[in-house]
Point group: C2
Chain length 162, copies 2
């Protein structure tokens, strides 16, 4: 009975975190994004590319549309930072970040409530019958926390932030 309310709660949190990231990426220069978030840790540009790729993967995972940025996987998903040369610029990745989230939002706006409780593509029909929580809305809950974790790291690139 609270389905619409729950969907709103989950999506509100998603959009709030995406907005926090937007603001941070708008503020950080491409040079700042070349820095490691902490000594010996991932560079900002790696985390940015990683998040674009992870959000891009949500498009097929949620059965919305084909991916836009599969070419990012090798540098930003399959390999850790510095193991593979990053050839794309931070400016381009920032644009990709906006594009992929806009694409997701446009689909989310059109989704019916019941659809959120259907299975995502990484779970089989067989398993889903026994594990109904492995639905599309749960993907949003998990990816919001994934975003929060990396945001907590990326803010270290912002020197103005205590």
């Amino acid at each position: 009975m609270n389905d619409d309310l729950m969907i709103k709660m989950v999506l509100d949190t998603w959009y709030a975190k995406v907005k926090d990231a937007d603001r941070l990426f708008d503020k950080l220069t491409d040079e700042q994004l070349q820095n490691e978030v902490a000594p010996g840790r991932n560079r900002g540009i790696y985390l940015l590319g990683h998040m674009v790729a992870v959000h891009d993967r949500m498009l097929p995972l949620l059965d919305l549309e084909e991916r836009s940025f599969t070419e990012l996987d090798e540098a930003f998903i399959s390999n850790p930072d510095k193991a593979f040369e990053i050839t794309i610029s931070a400016t381009e990745l920032k644009q990709n970040w906006k594009d992929v989230n806009a694409k997701l939002a446009s689909h989310f706006n059109k989704m019916q409530s019941a659809e959120w409780f259907t299975k995502h593509k990484a779970v089989s029909e067989e398993d889903f019958v026994k594990e109904l929580h492995r639905n599309k809305l749960n993907v949003i809950i998990n990816r919001t926390n994934h975003l929060s974790g990396h945001l907590g790291q990326l803010i270290f690139l912002d020197n103005a932030k205590p």
Copy 2:
């Protein structure tokens, strides 16, 4: 109609992140927790105390019981790190962390589904009528993301982690 499922999804994510933090705190020595998570940023012990205090505040916020650790607020909520002397040990804070989460879990286990959709204590009856999403379950969604953000920072104290 999906209320129980939604509650499970939200609580599963909460418990998973609490467990991630438990594992990390078990692994980090008190000496490691004295280090800053990144140069010039919060020390591990500050973030640990901060999270204990924030979770402790959930007890009255969710109308469960009185707080256990109000004395932590001055050092870990009202003041930034290094502005106020931390007199409590990391060992004691680690125990508080376990205690407060066990206390929350014990209450969560007893809560009826409908109760999760009632208002938390920081919203007025008047506002809640117009903003039904400001309920107890939403507090869990928000606090899970708060925890994820700080966990993303605290793992930098674990030298074994790439």
